[in-house]
């Protein structure tokens, strides 16, 4: 059982942590969320053992719920979500950075400006390569609903990044 957890953590630990970090924009919150995800996995290990390798959507689902919940509470708070991945929280790109680094920074800002639901959908699909069936499971949507949400996220990003991307690559 313990070896099973080690193998599972080796496979998904970094991925779940990276997702939480991108979702919340805060490495400390990401650490907290990632730990909680694996605590809950251990608490439900026997029930999850029957999923025959389909644990990844469950892990991302818990991480999404914790991250989105955290973002929503911050958005309701007095400072809004400025401290977590909002555009104002990110530093300006250093002068002399290559164009790709500049674009990466702009992408981070644009993703940080998405609402939490769209942000999660975009990151899970674009950064973590979930299929739409997996995305639907993680977000508790139909597959069509998952596609719609991802498409809305992508369109919002495209609008935000339009001035910085050649027209034929948008």
């Amino acid at each position: 059982m313990d070896g099973g957890f080690q193998a599972l953590y080796a496979r998904y630990g970094r991925e779940v942590h990276a997702y939480a970090a991108r979702l919340t924009g805060d490495p400390y919150v990401a650490e907290e969320i990632c730990q909680e995800v694996f605590v809950r996995y251990l608490q439900h290990e026997q029930a999850l053992a029957g999923r025959n390798g389909h644990v990844a959507p469950w892990l991302f689902r818990v991480a999404t719920n914790l991250g989105v919940d955290r973002l929503r509470r911050l958005l309701r708070g007095p400072r809004g979500a400025r401290s977590l991945a909002a555009p104002e929280a990110l530093p300006d790109p250093a002068p002399g950075q290559p164009q790709d680094a500049d674009l990466a920074e702009r992408i981070r800002r644009a993703v940080g400006a998405l609402n939490p639901d769209l942000r999660a959908a975009f990151l899970l699909r674009a950064h973590h390569a979930l299929t739409f069936a997996q995305l639907a499971e993680v977000l508790d949507l139909s597959e069509r609903g998952a596609k719609d949400r991802y498409r809305r996220a992508r369109e919002a990003l495209a609008a935000a990044l339009a001035p910085h991307i050649p027209e034929d690559e948008r």
Binding site: Y9, F38, R61, L66, D69
Partner: protein, 158 residues
């Protein structure tokens, strides 16, 4: 057929094609056929695919602390399945305690003149242990991670 509007229409759907968002197999086949015969659109697809790939790799984040799995194990050992941290059961336990206290007060008020019965030695009424489902604050610290959102439902594990 004017090729320019056709190319523009294909390029407008390139990201949907790359993102696997096209539901209609006929439309997908139509786009693929055009891309196979139009070098300019094929090149635009390559650029879009490169941009998508760079988007996936451009955003590096630091990895988790090395001891995270050990900390997770230690925390899970402290609260194995069935032990509820906070939430509805804590609320329910509060209600049960309030009900028991209220019932005791009501009994006393209804029989003010009745001498208090001598409790049987085997049933100490005062030393009732607290319900086991209510963790103390120290057992259930607020670690900043909020309650499960509506999407998290362990009972829905398939």
């Amino acid at each position: 057929m004017n090729p320019v509007p056709r190319c523009a229409a294909v390029r407008a759907r390139l990201h949907d094609l790359l993102d696997d968002l096209l539901d209609d197999p006929a439309e997908r086949a139509d786009l693929e056929a055009h891309l196979a015969s139009c070098p300019a659109c094929a090149e635009a697809r390559e650029r879009a695919a490169d941009r998508l790939a760079s988007l996936r790799t451009a955003w590096d984040v630091p990895g988790p602390a090395p001891d995270l799995p050990e900390r997770a194990r230690a925390r899970a050992a402290l609260s194995p399945p069935g032990v509820v941290r906070g939430g509805r059961l804590r609320l329910a336990a509060t209600h049960v305690s309030a009900f028991v206290a209220g019932a005791a007060v009501a009994v006393l008020l209804r029989n003010p003149a009745t001498p208090a019965p001598v409790p049987p030695p085997t049933r100490p009424a005062v030393e009732r242990p607290a319900p086991p489902v209510a963790p103390t604050a120290s057992e259930a610290p607020d670690r900043g991670v909020g309650p499960s959102g509506p999407l998290f439902a362990p009972r829905r594990i398939r």
